[in-house]
Symmetry: C2
Subunit: 372 residues, 2 copies
């Protein structure tokens, strides 16, 4: 497909289809139990929307690796075909879980459960990050600690955390694959915490290097994309080469995604962005662009007079953008994102050719072509 408009529309359609499947599955997996207020808080951000990019990637990888065409994400055939025997039913009590949780034998795998696990981990990190960053708005609605309260927000995040591991326990894959998936998810969560700790730390430092910043976004953002790409491959029994290549694919996509977010903040008109253009500059937030500019000798902190944020004019933001452009910082970030996307697409060659791989390639391309 060489027509960029048609290609972008096709990607959006592919994401839209899977987003709809995820949106339907969320209330089925994450049911509202007692205490209701807690469970409503766990659902609040998930119900408010979201692009569902990570579960979409997870589902597309599964589609690409499945031995049969995927008709139902809750029963995807492993790489080696599986033996189709039933993989057990969900259990209720903790002792039943301990003594008879569903463990598969090579039969169909509940890939939707894994997709929901990744999405609830993402939601947990957003809820806790919003507390830490004192952000009151998220996805156009009040943050959970504002809509509910601090206690409920902390607990809602903690509950989602546990639920992710519960979902992964019940995918019905052979147990050695499930243990590996658990291990990847746990290590991923550890790294996300490390990344967020670095991000909080960076706010009080003026000597952050580009390398440190890249390590931070790798941990805070990219590893969850890595997990989304790797976990379906593990659960479906892909070989080590495939798993390693998919990990690289996910990491690079996640890094490019974050850089693109930093760029869009500067270049997309406020009304399309859904927030003030240049808000990172106004709030003095460090990004790959400002870190590069500082390395070129630009006095980034004073690019925009931030004494009165509401008085900042479009012309001032344009002038700042022009200065960032003149020292090559926009071009630097853009090139880095393109390099990452090229690497991520290269990594996809490990997957069998077909529509799912093509959609993953196009999704990677689209992530840095999108304008909001």
């Amino acid at each position: 497909m060489t027509d960029p408009e048609g290609r972008a529309a096709a990607v959006r359609d592919a994401i839209h289809q899977r987003r709809r499947a995820v949106n339907e599955a969320v209330p089925e997996y994450l049911t509202v139990e007692e205490p209701e207020r807690l469970y409503e808080a766990t659902r609040y951000l998930l119900d408010a929307g979201g692009k569902r990019l990570r579960p979409t990637i997870l589902m597309l990888v599964a589609e690409s690796l499945s031995a049969d065409p995927v008709e139902e994400y809750r029963a995807v055939t492993p790489v080696d075909g599986g033996d189709r025997s039933p993989s057990g039913t969900a259990t209720d009590s903790i002792v039943a879980a301990a003594t008879g949780s569903p463990q598969g034998n090579g039969g169909p795998v509940d890939i939707m459960a894994a997709a929901i696990a990744i999405e609830v981990i993402q939601s947990f990190t957003l809820i806790h990050d919003d507390i830490m960053d004192e952000d009151d708005l998220r996805r156009g609605v009040a943050a959970v600690h504002e809509a509910y309260d601090l206690e409920t927000a902390i607990l809602a995040g903690d509950t989602l955390y546990a639920k992710a591991f519960e979902y992964l326990s019940a995918v019905g894959a052979p147990p050695d694959r499930t243990v590996r998936a658990h291990d990847v998810l746990a290590r991923t969560c550890t790294e996300i915490c490390e990344g967020q700790a670095l991000d909080v730390d960076f706010e009080t430092r003026s000597d952050v290097t580009i390398e440190e910043y890249r390590d931070m976004i790798r941990a805070k953002t990219a590893v969850l994309y890595g997990a989304a790409a790797v976990i379906p491959a593990i659960l479906l029994g892909a070989d080590d080469e495939t798993i390693e290549a998919l990990h690289r694919f996910g990491i690079r996509i996640g890094e490019a995604f974050q850089i693109q977010d930093d760029l869009l903040d500067l270049t997309t008109p406020s009304e399309r962005l859904g927030k003030r253009r240049g808000s990172d500059l106004i709030e003095n937030k460090q990004t790959i662009v400002t870190l590069h500019a500082r390395q070129q000798g630009v006095d980034v902190a004073n690019l925009i007079d931030t004494d009165d944020a509401s008085a900042v004019s479009e012309a001032e933001i344009d002038a700042a953008l022009a200065e960032l452009r003149s020292v090559g910082s926009i071009e630097y970030a853009r090139s880095l994102a393109e390099e990452f996307i090229a690497e991520s697409r290269e990594s996809l060659r490990v997957l069998p050719p077909g529509p799912a791989r093509e959609q993953l390639e196009d999704l990677a391309w689209y992530l840095i072509e999108r304008e909001y």
Copy 2:
């Protein structure tokens, strides 16, 4: 052993030995990585002390079930003896974890890793609970959100959460057992969150029933004792009857432990308690004792004039205690704890007779005999 003093000393010695082993293992499992401040915060409460009752129970269950005498908690022989083949080595990178994490085949199991997993989950809940309850002191030191800050406390808890699942992934048990242990731990964490949500909710309600309170302490406190008792049995390949009986043992011990805590707050002199005697009454905290008293028509909220907490005299607390005693509330709580302990000890009959089972029986007895 019929001499209560000698028996209590023996229990304390059994706990002390295992506490020392846990204390030595904590820094070996939970190493301080970058970012250092985050990892120091994860270690802060663990290093400040703690009774290590949950890991002690976990280790004693493992000792009781091990086919060989336990010389090293990191290599405990499964129920069926195992085949002694090496169970792999720890892995570093996430891809190595995904493609080659250590999964056992019936050989020795790292029970210490499971014990540390339970202890770090306990520590994570303390850190987050202290934020929610606005408690500034814990184990004689400042709470993590005071010693560090809110952001670091939230993240330290989140990191410990992930670490627990990492440790469980690497115990080297056969993968079907490891998946079950993961599932139990995840469900346990979910229940703890539900219990804490109920506890927070109860603070603003004056119509909490004894049944609701018991459900709350079961979820908030007892299920982690249940997990501590069940997880070693799962990992070592015990049968379903054993696992179910051990779950009951842990739950009952946890419930009795909480009731005993409520009683000690009223009856143990402040200097032994390490905090003001009667502090629950002064702070108007609901306990099994006050809920029972309210059911008997006592105006519990006004048992002590709490306008000036520092002015409350010992005589006032004694008078309140006498009233609670007169309506049978102290006796009610005491009987309930004794009933729970009798049930927990009864459940232990499923274990093979021997010193480890005896120590578990004595530990159960000691929990409601202890005076602080």
